[in-house]
Every structure is written in C-alpha cells, then in structure tokens.
C-alpha cells in the first residue's frame, strides 16, 4: 500500500481557488454570461422564427445540391420531420441554438489557436497537453466549476460544451496547415510571398479540407456535450432524456434519443457536404 502519511491533497486549494475566483471575478463572469446569453437568445429567436416546413425544404435543397441523389436528398428532411412528429420541434431548436453558439465560440478560439500552433513549435508543445487534458477529463468534472462560475442554466452549458468540443478543430487546423506540401510553399516563397501571404494564399486554403473536417467534428462533439450539459440546466433535448431516465420511461427516452440522433445525422451530412464541396475543385 502507498504510505498514507505522505498523502497530500490539492483538492481543498482548487476548491478555495474556484470559490475565490467566483467572488473576485464576479463582474467579469456576469458580463461574459450576459453576452453569451444575449447571443443565445438571438439565435434561438431566429431558429424558432423560421417555420418548420421551411427548415425541411431548406435542408432538402442543400442536401440535393450536395449529393444530387434523390434518396440522400430526401432523407435529412424526412428525419427532421419525425422530430416534429414526436413533439420535440421547439426543444430541438433550443438544443440547436446552444450547439450553434458553442460552435461559433469554439471556432473563434480554435482556428486562430490551431494556426498559432502550426506556426510556432513552442506553442504546439505547450497547447497539445492541454488539449489532451480537455479530451480525457471527464466532462462532469468541469461541469461543477462551470456551474459555480456561471450559475445554473444555458451559459455554463455553453462553456462546458466549448471545453469539450474545442480540441478537434484546433488539432485539425494545426495538422492541416502543417501538412501543406512544402514544394508549393517553397514556390510561393520563391515568388516573394510574405509569411502573411503564404498563410492566407497557400497554407490556409490548402488546409481547408482538414479545417472543415475539424469543424464537422467539433459540431458533432458539441451536440453530444449539450445533452450532458442538461444536467446543469442547459435545457433542450438532454433535459427530456434526463427526465425520461429518472422516470424509467423507456419509450419516451427512445423518442428523445431518436431526435438527438436525427439532429446529429442532419448536422453531420450538411457539414460533411461542405468538406466535399471544397475538396472537388482542387482535386
């Protein structure tokens, strides 16, 4: 057995730190909270304002333009229709709103961070272990401090979701830029590209398929996390699942689970279509 007399705990210090920061940085967190909440409400309003049939038509049209196959074009719209049939339309839009806000924040942070990691090896070695930690740390662990800092509701849900969903887009942006063929980069430099021009004209465009794959992954992970975030009151589809679980309501749980899967499939198809569309012209 490990000798218990040299046991040492950081738990109380971390708890004290979070307690301190909650009080000392209260104005900052309130301001941040209000900003995110404002953004969320705006987007939710917009999503709900679009009539359900327009959603289905839009999804079908986009799917058609991406695949040009009848079955693949009709499926996403049809699946979305079942969400409404089960009575989850409004709640699903609420979930979608949180996903969209989380993804926007993730991309605003993640893409520049990925670029910085591709440019600087030092940044790469510093950030990589943090990303590893973000991906392996059980999400419940940071749900608690998020709850303390931002209170119950959607905002801590968004924060937890960003922590969970950020790594893929950072990693794939970094990887994509690093993998750009050195002969193309050398040619651009030989013709007098500055490092900014090299990034803008060559490295980022050529990394785009990888970056888009990262956006797709981040979106899927955000959807998965939003369900878990319902435990701290983020609402949406996860709340329905939570309630059904507590009531041992197998049928209701299935319906809610179905709706979440449908959302995932629709989002995945649409964002993957984006990747393919970017892929075709360059070959």
């Amino acid at each position: 057995m490990f000798p218990s007399d040299i046991e040492f705990h950081v738990a109380p210090y971390i708890s004290d730190f979070v307690k301190w920061i909650t009080v000392a940085w209260e104005p900052f967190f309130t301001a941040f909270s209000n900003m995110v909440l404002g953004m969320l409400l705006q987007i939710e309003h917009l999503l709900v304002a679009i009539p359900w049939w327009l959603w289905i038509i839009a999804v079908t049209v986009i799917a058609w333009r991406q695949t040009h196959e009848v079955v693949k074009a009709i499926m996403p719209g049809l699946l979305l229709f079942t969400v409404g049939i089960f009575g989850f339309w409004g709640i699903a839009m609420e979930t979608l709103g949180i996903v969209i806000v989380s993804v926007i924040i993730s991309l605003l942070l993640g893409i520049p961070l990925g670029i910085a990691m591709a440019v600087s090896d030092r940044c790469n070695t510093m950030v990589t272990p943090i990303l590893d930690a973000m991906q392996t740390m059980p999400s419940f662990v940071y749900l608690i401090p998020a709850l303390m800092l931002f209170g119950l509701g959607k905002v801590p849900g968004v924060v937890a979701t960003v922590i969970y969903a950020l790594p893929p887009v950072v990693r794939l942006t970094n990887l994509g830029i690093r993998q750009v063929s050195s002969s193309v980069q050398e040619a651009a430099l030989a013709f007098g590209a500055t490092s900014w021009q090299l990034m803008k004209e060559v490295r980022i465009p050529l990394a785009m398929p990888s970056i888009l794959a990262g956006i797709n992954q981040t979106t899927m992970m955000a959807l998965a996390m939003v369900v878990i975030a319902s435990m701290i009151g983020a609402g949406g589809m996860g709340e329905v699942v939570l309630i059904c679980t507590n009531r041992i309501d197998v049928g209701g749980g299935f319906e809610a689970g179905w709706a979440i899967v449908v959302l995932a499939i629709v989002i995945d198809r649409l964002t993957q279509g984006l990747v393919r569309r970017w892929d075709t012209p360059g070959g």
Partner: protein, 302 residues
Amino acid sequence: MGRQDFNLVEVERLWKVYHKTEKTLNLSDPEAVEKAEAAGAVIAVRDVSFQIKRGEVFVIMGLSGSGKSTLIRCLTRLIEPSAGVIRVAGKEVTSMDAEELTAFRRGEAAMVFQHYGLLPHRNVLENVAFGLKLRGLAHELREARAQEALRQVGLAGWEKKYPHQLSGGMQQRVGIARALVQDTDLLLMDEPFSGLDPLIRREMQDELIRLQKEWQKTIVFVTHDLGEALRLGDRMAVMGAGVFVQVGRPQDIVMHPTDEYVQRFVQDEQRIAQLLDKGRVSWVRSIEAHASARTGKVAAGR
C-alpha cells in the same frame, strides 16, 4: 544588355553547411571544417565561386546529393547560405533584409521547380498570375499578362483548368509561364524537365531554346542529365560533393574531362556515339556543330 561582359550573377565563396555549428564555424580554417565534418556536419556547398553573364544559359550538372539544388536555392536565399557573397545585377543579395529580399524575389528572379509547385486550388490562369498578385497588381492587369504568358508557352485555352487536370508537361508549361510573367532578367530552373518522360522532355527543351531566343534571359539551369546540359548550356559547371569540379563550355567538358567524376558523366555520351557507329571524330564534330549553331544564334540575337 549591350555590354556582353556584364555579369548579372556573381557568387563569391559560397558555403552551405548543415550542422548545429553552422553559425559559429570558421569556414576559412580547413582544420575547423574538417573537425565539424567529422562531428557530422554536412557541407552541401563548399566554397563555390562563379559569374554568369547577362543572357547566358548556365547549366549546373551533378548527381543527386551533389549540392546543385541547394546552390540554386541559395541564389534567392530560399536556403540561407552559411557564408559567401551573392550579387545579382550589382545588388548584394546576401546582405538584404527581409523586405528587400521579398522585393528581390518578386521583381528580379523567377524560379521553375522540378515538382512544379503549382497551387492545386487555383486554376491555370490564377497560378500564372500568382506572382503578380503577390506584388499587388490589379486583377484585370495581372490576368491579361498571365493570358499572354500562357499563349507564349502554348497553353491558350487552358486558363480555367486546374493543375490536376493537366499532364506533367503541361503543368511545367504553367510553371514556366508563371516565371515568365514575372518579367525578370534572371530565371532559375531546378531540374524542370526531370520528372517528364523523354519525348516530352525533348519537346520542352526545344520549347525553352525557342523561347530563350526571344527573351535573351539569363538562365541558371540545374540538371543531372548531360544531354540536356549539352543542348541548353552556353556554359556548364559539373558539381560533385558541393564543389564545382569543372566549369567551361559543354563541348570542352565532354572532350576534356579533367577528372574521373566528370569522365563518368561523359562516358555515356561516348557509348551512345559508338553505338550509333559514328565514331569519335564525327561525334565530336556533331557536338561542335551543335554548339556553334547555338552561339551563332545567340550572336545573331544580340
């Protein structure tokens, strides 16, 4: 252009050392160099000096690993030389700061690469106009000039295609048009035709000879192919282990190889001549005829 003896490119005692001691190594001390080499330093370019006259096609020939690709990249500092002085059109490239170097690469030296280095997400026209875009030229202006360059390399009508839709030979034509549109005196070509099959390679060489008659550019041409060197070069340098083993007119090098390394290059040509049953005399004559035809053409062009 009028002064024939004007050197466009002057290189003095150029070194490129790949080692952690690169910056601190005293290259004028042979013992220190030897010690560094024993400690694992790779010397890609070793104390090379040469001049290239305006309008001259200067071929650098050598096996892979002889340092020829490193050397040509040093000329625009795509690879930073360890020591030495490079002057192009009287300007000292080796002492330029980042901004001057960018301006130099944009306006005074254009490069063609073995692996083309085309942008896969841009069409042919945009690829050719790329250098002009970097300079900040207006959209219409650069496309008009790119169009003209494409016409010169025989690719009119292919503007909207993407590089992957083109054969290797055509991709390299795009590469040449991209360099041509820069309107520089100096053209650097790093094994531009090595990736092409023999027939296309021959065709591209003819094309380059034809274009060169028009442009009268100063060309530094790197190759590992003696036949190519003989066809294109006004003067050539045989490079081995980072040094110029022999420099001179191609026919002189073929006829009078100074050492065994050069002899190894040359013997293939000799064997081909024997196979053709022309004998050494007629073979030498054909080379001389070829060379004098070339110099005649160049002289007529001036």
